[in-house]
């Protein structure tokens, strides 16, 4: 199934099981190969077995797991039974690895230079001095500015993007033949993600490496990979050339993954969610198709026997027995989502009414001390104005460090603002006394990012949902119990869930529980702080549909915070784009998404990787990384990363400028003056 005659790495019939008497097979029958200069993508949700398949190929499986069948052949060497010493030899020199979380993959006690040089001295026998020089060169290769200074940094002195670059430098230090990147950009911001992916692609081409890229993000896979293998519940369910596979998926799971992605669906329609969730290894069906219970096309024969791998062509195959008869939807035509011109006039209609939320000149400054004990001020939020009517969703986007989460906490007064007003239901929260604030809390609720952390692990789900009612309402235990069941039903969970501990639930289920708890008090406003970011693609769609349904049926106002512009656009009625503590652009969702005015919004938009599209460079890029909110740039805060920045940007803070189609943008170049308009369009954005 590969094009080059002699694959560099070939995995055949791989099976990985837990050690011990009742062995569970976590992955089975994995066949993969990758040749030099080629990129293989492995895509799947968490729990599909994509990471451990790579770990097995590298011989770094956790000690509780072992390879029980199959072979991993790397350049004529069988790796599965190799002893550790020889494996180490191959791993360091010929195979490099990049992991998901760069900061925890580096040793915090050693400088970055030391860690890069260490590998060079062991594997290449370089002298201490020579290895150090090489480390500096490598940091330059991965485009870290001022490498001779950075080489002396400890990991905590670097940002996530910088640390990931350093990790890549370490992985390519010995010029490996194969680079395995396991979710290399998942922990990073979209603008940084794009930079890192570009770096990986150019390194692959320069060094002629084979690249295995593991990701759950179809957009990332499309941009990078020649061929893809789609994994589900420990099996490869489909593989083939990227374009073909996305255009004409041959397995219902692939098709469903594509249509549950927000970038691929027209706004206002609900996302195609895959019902249920990925089974856990002990629930893998042995004599049925593993996807059958979530599949829209399943028929009785699908659960009668496990489907065999069906090759379609030499390079393409699927694990669906109905492949011949099914006509599965793939990607829609590339611009279908945006062909409909935004109805700008309609979108901008602002009806008057009581606002559910009104934020006026909100400011939050934190006092911190520098390492030398100097007092410093973090300008986390500066002069933010927002308003939201009942039954609408306001999307708040920006990179990490832009102040989104601080705003979320200020909206509920989980932290005290340094200035400004937050008016919910006619009450200015900032002025409320503790007791009144506590009473006011029933009108406003929050759903947090981390579905694993927001529920007390020692309480069962029913207790967690009942708790707010216990505090705010006086009702009998029986009534409360009934209400818990009703709430569980409203978020699409079975009543039996009430007796379980959060640990027994999946991420999506926990997030539903968190929403049920937020609904318990009949709030008028719910703030969702990155509520879907930690979820898998298919469960994400379920939660988004749930939120939209609640908005439409019950008229609850939502503030939906996320870093993913495509998702925010899909969900929201209005969008506010934040950068370094300020809102830089605000307006109706379609206007902001389809006709962005601020260079930062454009850069964010250019970083959205759409599955199936080899996104052409629009020329809009954010340069470098977000600066520290301590001592932010003068004037326009985005100017240090803006490719259009001119003198006035440093001198004056740009004021909101009304935009055609509704909303406003705060950029000096958005003035109606003709030459400024020329600057923006000449660079290629249309």
């Amino acid at each position: 199934m590969n094009t080059s005659p002699m694959p560099l790495l070939e995995i055949s019939g791989l099976r990985i099981s837990t050690r011990g008497a009742s062995a569970l097979h976590l992955v089975e029958d994995i066949n993969l190969s990758v040749g030099r200069g080629e990129t293989l993508g492995i895509v799947g949700e968490s729990g599909s077995g994509k990471s451990i398949s790579c770990q097995a190929a590298l011989g770094i499986l956790p000690s509780a797991l072992e390879v029980t069948a199959g072979r991993v052949v790397f350049d004529d060497t069988e790796l599965t039974h190799l002893d550790n010493r020889r494996l180490n030899h191959i791993r360091g020199r010929r195979i490099g690895v990049v992991f998901q979380n760069p900061l925890s993959s580096l040793n915090p006690a050693l400088t970055v230079g030391h860690q890069i040089a260490e590998g060079l001295r062991v594997h290449k026998g370089l002298s201490r001095k020579r290895a150090w020089q090489r480390a500096v060169e490598l940091l330059d290769v991965v485009r870290i500015p001022a490498p001779h200074l950075r080489v002396k940094n400890y990991p905590h002195e670097m940002s996530g993007g910088m640390a990931q670059r350093a990790l890549i430098a370490m992985a390519i230090a010995c010029e490996p033949d194969l680079l395995v990147a396991d979710e290399p950009t998942t922990a990073l911001d979209v603008t940084i993600q794009l930079q890192i992916l570009d770096l990986l692609a150019s390194l692959r081409d320069e060094l002629g490496m084979a690249l295995i890229l593991v990701s759950h993000d179809l957009g990332v896979i499309t941009r990078m990979c020649d061929r893809v293998a789609v994994m589900y519940a420990g099996q490869i369910v489909e593989s083939g050339a990227t374009n073909e596979l996305f255009a004409q998926p041959a397995h219902p799971y692939t098709s469903a993954l594509i249509s549950s992605s927000a970038v691929n669906v027209a706004k206002g329609t609900s996302l195609t969610a895959i019902p249920g969730q990925v089974p856990r290894p002990r629930d893998f069906p042995t004599s049925a198709c593993r996807f059958a219970n979530r599949c829209a096309h399943a028929e009785p024969a699908c659960v009668a026997e496990a489907p065999a791998w069906t090759p379609i062509r030499e390079d393409r195959g699927t694990r669906c027995r109905r492949v011949a008869e099914l006509e599965l939807p793939g990607l829609r035509e590339p611009d279908a989502a945006s062909t409909a011109e935004p109805d700008l006039a309609a979108a901008s209609s602002e009806s008057v009414g009581d606002a559910a939320l009104d934020v006026h000149q909100l400011v939050k400054h934190f006092a911190v001390r520098s390492s030398r004990g100097r007092r410093q001020v973090v300008h986390a939020v500066d002069d933010v104005n927002l308003s939201l009517r009942p039954g609408r969703i306001l999307g708040l986007v920006g990179e990490s460090g832009s102040g989104k989460s601080t705003v979320a906490r200020l909206l509920l007064r989980l932290i005290d603002p340094s200035g400004g007003r937050v008016v919910v239901m006619g009450e200015d929260l900032a002025r409320l006394k503790r007791n009144l604030l506590r009473k006011q809390r029933k009108h406003m609720q929050m759903v947090f990012q981390d579905p694993y952390g927001t529920l007390d692990p020692l309480m069962n789900v029913g207790q967690s949902i009942a708790e707010p009612m216990l505090v705010h309402f006086s009702m009998s235990a029986a009534k409360r119990r009934d209400r818990v069941f009703e709430l569980l039903d409203r978020v699409g969970l079975d009543p039996s869930v009430a007796d379980r501990r959060p640990a027994a639930l999946s991420g999506g289920q926990r997030q539903r529980v968190a929403i049920a708890r937020a609904l318990a008090l009949n709030p008028t406003l719910i703030v969702c702080d990155e509520a879907v970011s930690a979820l898998d693609v298919s469960t994400r769609a379920q939660i988004i549909n749930l939120i939209q349904g609640l908005k439409e049926r019950e008229g609850i106002a939502f503030v939906f915070i996320a870093h993913d512009l495509a998702t925010v656009h899909h969900v929201s009625d209005d969008i506010a784009v934040m950068y370094l503590g300020r809102v830089v652009e605000y307006g109706p969702a379609d206007r902001v998404y389809l006709a962005p005015a601020h260079p930062y919004t454009r850069a964010l938009l250019a970083s959205v990787l759409r599955p199936g599209e080899h996104n052409e460079d629009s020329g809009h890029r954010a340069i470098g990384e977000i600066p520290s909110p301590i001592d932010p740039p003068s004037g326009c805060r985005f100017r240090t990363r803006c490719q259009f920045a001119v003198d006035i940007c440093a001198a004056e803070t740009p004021q909101p400028m009304p935009m055609p189609g509704g909303g406003w943008s705060a950029c000096h170049l958005n003035t109606p003056s003709p030459e400024a308009a020329v600057i923006l369009t000449a660079e290629g954005f249309s």
Binding site: R280, P285, A304, R438, D450, D456, L458, A503
Partner: protein, 294 residues
């Protein structure tokens, strides 16, 4: 066959042997220690029933006797039955330790929770107090306190509890401060819980694991400390028996009856060991417990 039969919903019950107690049950050493402490406790409770003689009854015709059917553990220099005295001594010593550790846990946990939950100046103030307590050598402080308050079981327990407070305050504080960062603590604020409810319902239960371990380890320390104090005559006063003062008394007759010193000595050693083993076992079970959940 329907789709539902393919993957039946997982049973909500935690698999057998996965709970903390289940894991403890599979550690034979820990179970032996638990059994030992349970028997010791039972013996202390039933001392009046179990002892063949009254603990203060002297018999001048049976002085310093070796173990015999009449006196299973022999007699001391006043002809008192050692077994009976040991039973009462166990009662007194365990009670002193429980009092000392109980009070220390109560005060220490409150201080630790306040410091960890509120942070800021409350934290700094409380920790200054705790740190200055820690700066004074423990036993010296306890002896000085008893010196001021007068010897006796209650005063000795109180003095000991003072020196154990910092341990519990610090462990609770560090754990509470960590748990306080968990999203569910912020979530509990966002639904409008009172401080009281947040602390008692969410913070305390989630800080309990290391505390329980520390309680057992401190009980072991308390046995030794209480022994030392009553050896010095600062705690339980003769003729009431305690492990410490029986040890002290047997020293004066070490030439005539060397075995006497081993009886309270061995029991103290075993008790300390048992508490430590239980603490270790709990620690391991809690550690495994959290790992299996993530």
């Amino acid at each position: 066959m329907t789709a539902a039969t393919i993957s039946p919903p997982r049973s909500p019950q935690v698999p057998r042997g996965q709970t903390v107690l289940g894991k403890l049950r599979r550690q034979p050493m820990t179970m032996a220690a638990v059994l030992f402490i349970a028997m010791l406790g039972l013996a202390a409770l039933l001392a009046p029933v179990l002892s063949p003689y009254r603990p203060h009854d002297t018999d001048y015709f049976a002085i310093l006797q070796t173990p015999s059917p009449a006196h299973l553990l022999g007699t001391d220099d006043l002809g008192r039955d050692i077994l009976s005295r040991m039973l009462y001594a166990t009662r007194a010593s365990l009670l002193a330790c429980l009092q000392a550790v109980g009070l220390a846990v109560f005060v220490g946990v409150i201080i630790g929770l306040l410091a960890g939950y509120f942070g800021g100046w409350i934290d700094r103030l409380l920790m200054i107090v705790i740190d200055s307590l820690l700066a004074i050598p423990g036993l010296l402080l306890a002896l000085a306190l008893v010196g001021a308050l007068g010897p006796g079981l209650v005063n000795a327990s109180f003095a000991l509890s003072i020196i154990f407070v910092p341990v519990f305050a610090r462990i609770t504080r560090i754990q509470a401060a960590a748990v306080n960062q968990e999203p569910y603590m912020e979530a509990s604020r966002s639904i409008g819980l009172t401080h009281r409810r947040s602390v008692l319902r969410h913070l305390l239960p989630n800080t309990a694991a290391p505390l329980i371990v520390q309680i057992f380890i401190t009980l072991g320390v308390a046995i030794v400390a209480e022994g030392a104090m009553s050896y010095l005559g600062m705690s339980i006063q003769p003729p009431e028996a305690s492990w410490g003062n029986m040890l002290q008394r047997s020293f004066s007759t070490i030439n005539e009856a060397p075995w006497l010193i081993f009886i309270p000595g061995a029991l103290m050693t075993l008790t300390v060991l048992a508490f430590q083993v239980i603490g270790d076992g709990l620690n391991r079970s809690f550690a495994l417990d959290t790992r299996s959940e993530t």
